[in-house]
Each structure stands twice: as C-alpha cells, then as structure tokens.
C-alpha cells in the first residue's frame, strides 16, 4: 500500500467517525456528490470501533488456513477489490463464482451481496467466514476464541462495547467490521466537481458528451441513478442484464425447480451460490423465488468503476468499453448471441456509434475519486 493512500483513507474515515460519534446520529459530512452515510441506530460510529473493525477486517487468523482475511478479496490497494481476478480466491486458492464487489460506498446499499441475500453490512460479514470457498471455518467459534483471548482484542472490545469474555459475540465483531466499512466512502470525482460543484472544466468535452449519453440515449441513469443533490449511481434494485444466465439458459427450469423444492437454509444458499456456477447464475431468484428475479443481480455503483475491473457479478467482462458494447447489443456480450428469456425490460439494443461508446467510457472514467486517481493512472 502506498503511504499517501493510507493517509487519504484514514482522513475520510475519521471525519465520518467523528461526526457520528459526537452527534450519535448519521454523519452529516459527506464528500461532494454523496449523502451522509446511513448509520443504523444500534451501531453508532466511534473512532475506536472503526479501528477495531479495521483490525478484524485484516486479520487472517479468521480463516481455516490462517491465510485469508476480508482484505484478501477486498484489498485497500485495489480499491477494496481483488482485481484482476474475475472471481475471488479463498482458502487453498479455491475460487467462488462471483467478482468481489468493492467495499467503497457499500455503506449506501440497501442489501448486500450481488443477489442481495444479506440485509445489512452487519449481517453480510457473518457469511464469508463459513463459506467453504472463502474463509472455510466450520463455525464462528474460532473467531470468538481469538477475540476473547487475544489481549489486544480483549482491550478493544472492552473499550468499544464494554464487553468481555462470553459477552463478546459475533454481534460485536460484525458491528465493528460494519463500522469500519462505513468509513470507506468516496466521491468528489471530476464528475461531482462539474455537476455538483459547478466547475465547468472539471470534465473534458468527451466526458460531457458521455454524460449526455448516460442520461439520454444510453439509458444508463435509469438504474445508475444521478439525482439533483447526490449520485449513488445505483437504484439498489436487481436486474437481469444478460450476463451469466445467457450461458445456462437450458438449465434454468431445472435449477429454479431445485430451489423451489429444497428447504435450503440461509447458510446453504450462501454455499450453493458460491460453489456452483450454474446456481449462481439464477441470481436473486435464490432469495425471492420470484420469476422477475431470474438471472437478476444488484445494480453496482459506478463510482470508481475505472479502478475496479473486471466487471459484472462474475467478472466476465474485462473493460468498460466491452461493458458498454454488451448493453449496446441489447444484453448480449457477443453480438448475435441468443438473448435470455428473462431479460429485464429495461435492456434493449441502443444503436450507439463507436464514438458514443468511447464517450460513455470517458464519462465513467470521470467518476474516480481523488484517493484512487493514482490507481486509475496505473491501469
């Protein structure tokens, strides 16, 4: 990690933490272009909690091999992703089925994971510890054994939660991790300075044309929202955009039926979707059993998208240009491939010219926050 970047991230983190700590309400300071981070009432932000969360986030002992931490796949040096991997690698180099989404701005999502199967940051971090292709623990007990005995953790949990011994549970562990994750917010991009800050020359002409296409002919803004005062670049909804499911179309009825007939628990669902690629591709259907959710995945934010390649839930598309081409083709990556039966009604061929595709890519490259600008240059 570059020293300069640590500084930036910590400053952002501390600002949010401080504001929340003193007011005990959602942070009021937010970078240009984003609203205050939503903070759940039961998990107020404090500086010590954030520090504890960061320590937990980076602790490799919470995996069966002692080699994998949260940070393995959500690496701060890679904008909290594991690029260029298309799908993540857990213990013993085992691979899952999905591309690690960045932690940056995850605080603004209403649901977690690509299929939204987890309702909050607090709930989300419970699952990778146990997944056999991620951190592979048989239960949460090994984590609790460590945080109840390691002197540094004992002190920290006492200080942050006023709890010791058996009083320290996964509730405290996941709350601390979530608090740390809520400090990872980033906006203030050239787009924000242009759109919200009134800096007329923060974008170049191609990026400005790209913006017009983004909110117009490209139909991007309907899911990647830009609003009057803020831009999350997500609608927090789920859509079948023709990625993944296109390759398993004949298997959909069988896979769907299996999920309807089996009595899977939440943990079993988590294991199923990350260990079986074909099951993974039916998307949010595993959560809701609704036809509307067949092959649908959460709209990711586009902030800092230029530094979080590869793209889509399965990391199957390497460049932003190829992503735009996929949409331009009406939901197929290679022109002429069959469209899947359950494609979202929002996806249709766009008929964009090559230069327009370039402009859209240029616009997305203007969504990089200052703390990731150096990283963007490397790519």
């Amino acid at each position: 990690m570059k020293p300069a970047m640590i500084g930036v991230i910590l400053v952002v983190g501390c600002l949010c933490a401080l504001a929340a700590h003193t007011a005990q309400t959602p942070a009021t300071t937010a970078p240009l272009g984003l609203p205050p981070v939503p903070i759940p009432e039961h998990n107020p932000m404090t500086r010590d909690k954030v520090a504890l969360g960061e320590k937990l986030f980076n602790d490799k002992r919470f995996s069966s091999t002692g080699e994998v931490s949260c940070a393995t796949c959500h690496d701060a040096e890679k904008a909290f992703t594991d690029g260029p991997l298309s799908v993540s690698e857990g213990i013993n180099k085992l691979t899952g089925t999905r591309n690690a989404p960045t932690v940056v701005n995850a605080a603004y999502f209403n649901t977690m994971f690509w299929d939204g199967r987890s309702p909050s940051l607090e709930d989300q971090s419970l699952h990778p510890f146990l997944n056999p292709v991620e951190m592979g623990l048989p239960s949460h007990q090994p984590i609790l054994d460590i945080v109840r005995s390691d002197p540094e953790y004992v002190d920290a949990f006492k200080k942050v939660f006023a709890k010791t011994g058996d009083g320290v549970t996964m509730t405290e562990v996941t709350r601390a991790i979530a608090a740390f994750e809520r400090t990872q917010v980033a906006a203030d991009s050239p787009f924000d300075r242009w759109f919200y800050g009134g800096e007329a020359d923060a974008l170049d002409v191609s990026q400005k044309r790209g913006y017009e296409l983004f909110v117009g002919e490209g139909r991007c803004v309907s899911c990647h929202l830009i609003e009057q005062t803020q831009a999350l670049f997500t609608d927090n909804r789920f859509h079948n955009i023709g990625v993944g499911i296109n390759q398993i179309q004949d298997d959909v009825p069988k896979l769907a039926r299996e999920f309807l007939q089996a009595d899977y628990t939440k943990t079993q669902v988590d294991i199923k979707v990350l260990t079986d690629k074909r099951t993974s591709e039916i998307g949010r259907f595993v959560v809701t059993s609704g036809f509307d959710d067949l092959g649908s995945f959460k709209t990711p934010t586009l902030r800092n998208i230029a530094v979080t390649a590869p793209y889509m839930h399965d990391g199957s598309i390497e460049t932003l240009r190829e992503v735009v081409v996929h949409y331009n083709n009406g939901g197929v990556t290679n022109e002429g491939d069959p469209v899947n039966d359950f494609l979202s009604g929002g996806i249709r061929p766009l008929d964009l010219a090559d230069t327009e595709i370039d402009d859209l890519v240029a616009f997305m490259e203007a969504l990089t926050s200052p703390q990731f600008a150096d990283q963007a240059k490397k790519q």
């Binding site: 309807l260 899977y264 628990t265 809701t288 036809f291 509307d292 959710d293 009406g330 009604g345």
Partner: protein
C-alpha cells in the same frame, strides 16, 4: 429464516408477499385448499401483438414479452392443466406474424386453447388463424367445469364485407383507437344460437367459464372495450349460478360482477393500455369494483405487462397476475360479497395510484 416450501401461490408472489406466506405453517396453507381434487389451474397468456417489420424482422419488444411469458409458464409448479391464449397473437393479421407467434407458443409444454382477436381476424377474416388453431368458437368440459370460447370480435356484415377497398385497410381501420371509421365488436346471432344450444346440455349449477377477446360487457366504445350484444350474451348465461367471463383486449386489470357473472380481464404480454378515462378524457364505464393497475415505470418495457395463472376452486376463479417489474396482483371471488376483489389493493388506503393524466 422461514424456509420455502413448494406452493404454486408462493411461487408467483413477490418477495414481500412470499415472506409473509412462507412463514405460515405448511398445514395452514394446505387447509386453504382442503378439497384439492376439485381444484385445478390453468395459465392465461394474451395479446402478444407480434408485429412483422419486413423480411425476418419483427418488433423485438413484443417478441420478448411472449417469449418470457412462455418460458415462465413452462416453469409453473405444479403444472397447469392447460394454457389459454387470449387473442391478438398478430398485430396486422399477417401470416408471418401468426406463424412467428405460433412458433413461440409451440414451446409451451401444455395443451393450448386459442381465442380469436381482432388483430388476428380482420385481414383474412380468420382464415389463416383457423388453419393454425381450428374452430373460432367451441366448448369443452374439464374436471366438472364447462368451458366456452367465443369469437367476440365480429361486427356488422356491411362493415366487414362491403365498406373497404382492401383487406389491409379493413384491418387497419379496426385496429385504430377512437376511430370514427371503426365498428363495435359483437358475438353475433349465429354464435348466440350455438351458445344457447351448447348451454342447454348442462345443468344450471355447472360452473361455466367463458373466454372471449373483448369484454362481454360495455366499458368504453371508442377502444372497443365493448361488445355490442353483451346484454344478449349475458342473458343466456344468467340462469347459471356460477359463471366467469375472462377476456383480453384491454391490456389492463379489470374485474366486475353482473348478476351471477364474474368478469376478469387478463394482461397483455405486449404493452399496457392506460385506463380510457385518463387517456381519452372520455366517459368510460370502468367497473366500480376495479382497482386500477399500479403505476408502471415506462423505462422497463415489460412493466404493466404480464400473464396470469388461474386457480379454479369449487368452480370459482382466482386470477393471479404475474406482472413484470411490478407487484403481482390476485383478484379472487369473495364468497361473502359475491364478487371478485383484489386481495391486496381493494381497500382504498392500500392502493398505489395509477397514472390518471397525460
């Protein structure tokens, strides 16, 4: 976490409804369907409006709607006993359109009954459609219910046979909305005579379900949400204790009760229509019972389109609307009120306002 258990109703509910239902003990759900032997379901797909552009090109949006409805219907668990296609398979009655649509419907893994729509009819007066689907009106019995399919989109002979210089123009005139050159739909005397004889063969307490393309009730004449001899047909059905009429054509949720007859519309797979009064600013007789469709987001081309599966329990119909990008709806016969009600949105304070102006 509540676990999912296999139940057709839940299968089709949206996430929130699903959570609520699936938390019930299995036995409670089972109780609701105590006499399962008498219950059965069928699926209803309608108004695909497959439109030929030229060569091998068809309007993509309408294709996608029918493809999706067929694919989803094929996944129903348990399987429906049959599927009804409610008319307007084609947009301008062309062979290319009927063939292309029929090819998609052929992928259904169930028996299909077809209803004639005006878009299928007015180019060649149903000739090619009949080659594909046979009789234009017919009846059959299934598990104690008498089913009848009518061709309700006929009109006056003079309009049909003498007024237009070409078949193409006749088709276009009938396809227009608020068109002064149009003509009201009707079942006509020949079919009414047939219907009378057909109904004479069954007991008055036999549940009767009628499929027609246009509503056998009068709602808005300018769009042919209308059947000119509706009252005459209703009079033939009136002696029966338990009658349901299911119609397409209107591309929106409607339901009504007239005497013993329950009316239900089904959705289009192609596009939604606004309610006439909001669009044409004209008087419509939209049934008072109807809770209008929830407002749709036009970005999602499939929003406010869909298909339905229909549950027949003791001869009464429950229509489950499977609506893409929108909340699914259930309209069921309420035995206390003796009329269909929307299971969720009937109370005024539960409704999602539809679009009422343009």
């Amino acid at each position: 976490m509540c676990t999912l258990h296999l139940n057709r109703r839940e299968f089709l509910k949206g996430a929130s409804a699903l959570a609520a239902v699936s938390c019930l003990p299995v036995s409670m759900v089972e109780l609701a369907f105590a006499d399962r032997k008498k219950n059965f379901t069928f699926a209803y797909i309608s108004d695909a409006h497959i439109q030929h552009i030229g060569g091998a090109k068809f309007v993509r949006n309408w294709d996608r709607g029918l493809i999706r409805a067929v694919a989803e219907t094929n996944m129903l668990v348990p399987k429906p006993d049959f599927v009804v296609f409610g008319g307007d398979l084609a947009q301008l009655g062309k062979r290319e359109e009927l063939d292309h649509g029929a090819e998609m419907l052929d992928k259904l893994s169930y028996k299909v009954y077809s209803v004639m729509g005006e878009h299928d009819y007015y180019l060649d007066l149903g000739e090619y459609w009949s080659k594909l689907y046979g009789k234009q009106y017919y009846s059959w019995d299934h598990k104690g219910v008498h089913f009848i399919t009518l061709n309700s989109v006929l009109t006056y002979d003079e309009w049909t046979h003498e007024r237009w210089p070409s078949a193409q123009q006749r088709m276009l005139e009938m396809a227009g909305l608020d068109n002064p050159n149009g003509s009201p739909f009707m079942v006509g005397e020949t079919q009414r005579e047939w219907l009378k004889k057909d109904l004479a063969k069954i007991g008055k307490d036999t549940p009767v379900v009628v499929f027609s393309h246009s509503p056998i009730q009068k709602i808005y004449k300018g769009w042919n949400f209308w059947t000119e001899d509706a009252e005459d047909v209703q009079a033939l059905l009136k002696p029966f204790t338990d009658v349901t009429v299911i119609y397409g054509h209107v591309h929106q949720v409607q339901y009504n009760q007239i005497d013993h007859i329950s009316f239900h519309s089904v959705m289009a797979t192609a596009w939604p229509w606004p309610y006439p009064e909001s669009y044409a600013q004209a008087k419509s007789h939209l049934p008072k019972l109807t809770v209008p469709m929830n407002r749709a987001d036009p970005f999602f081309e499939r929003d406010a389109t869909g298909w339905q599966f229909i549950d027949i329990s003791s001869g009464r119909v429950t229509v489950e609307y499977n609506l893409y990008n929108n909340q699914n709806r259930t309209v069921a016969f309420d035995s206390d009120k003796k009329q269909p009600i929307d299971k969720v949105f009937q109370p005024v304070n539960k409704r999602v306002p539809p679009q009422t102006h343009y």
